[in-house]
């Protein structure tokens, strides 16, 4: 399976997935740490992919969404944005709306 297919499968199978540097427990970058904190604040379950552990995903994810930076958030298979956009959508309440139907009961 090509890297692009792998990524497509990951974003399809996981309703909320964050591509980040490090892990949710040990983020390796301030922007990734901020993205994790937002998702935790929303109280939504999310998958996380540590791009530092996989050079092909690290490069492939930039091509997948044509977006040059990490973290990247996908909800229901759609690219949402990077760290600044997550902050904006979180502050405006839009991010909460986007995941409202996915929240753990």
């Amino acid at each position: 399976m090509s890297t692009q297919d792998t990524i497509r499968q990951q974003v399809t199978e996981n309703p909320v997935i964050l591509y980040m540097k490090g892990t949710p427990t040990f983020p390796q970058c301030g922007f990734s740490a901020g993205a994790v904190q937002i998702l935790k604040n929303l109280g939504v379950n999310f998958a996380a992919v540590n791009v530092l552990a996989d050079p092909e995903i690290r490069q492939g994810i930039k091509e997948f969404a044509n977006w040059p930076t990490i973290p990247q958030l996908y909800i229901k298979g759609e690219f949402v944005g990077g760290s600044d956009i997550m902050k904006e959508l979180y502050a405006s309440g839009e991010l909460a709306e986007m995941v409202a139907d996915l929240k753990a009961e």
């Binding site: 922007f31 977006w67 930076t69 944005g81 990077g82 600044d84």
Partner: protein, 88 residues
């Protein structure tokens, strides 16, 4: 060679900005792994009529596009606020 900050400003001229504020935050990140490559950390506020009617995602793409070959080596991190003159 032009400084990376000047290079960013020059390239973003394509968006006909009314205002650009570029803050070089590299010093705050000196020593961490990402900074080791020498890439800079920047916070950018750019104000342009080009953003009218565009969603945030699209605005950020417009900013990244002319800078893409500088990321991640010369620009390690870039925070973007892309505003229309009315929003500024």
């Amino acid at each position: 060679m032009m400084s990376i900050a000047d290079e960013i400003r020059t390239r973003l001229a394509a968006l006909a900005p009314e205002n650009i504020e570029l803050f070089d935050d590299s010093a705050a990140h000196a020593g961490h792994a990402g900074a080791a490559s020498g890439g800079g950390h920047f916070e950018l506020t750019i104000v342009s009529n080009a953003f009218i009617g565009k969603k945030t995602l699209e605005r950020h793409r417009m900013v990244y596009q002319p800078l893409s070959d500088l990321i991640p080596h010369r620009i390690h991190a870039l925070s973007i606020r892309a505003l229309t003159p009315d929003e500024f």
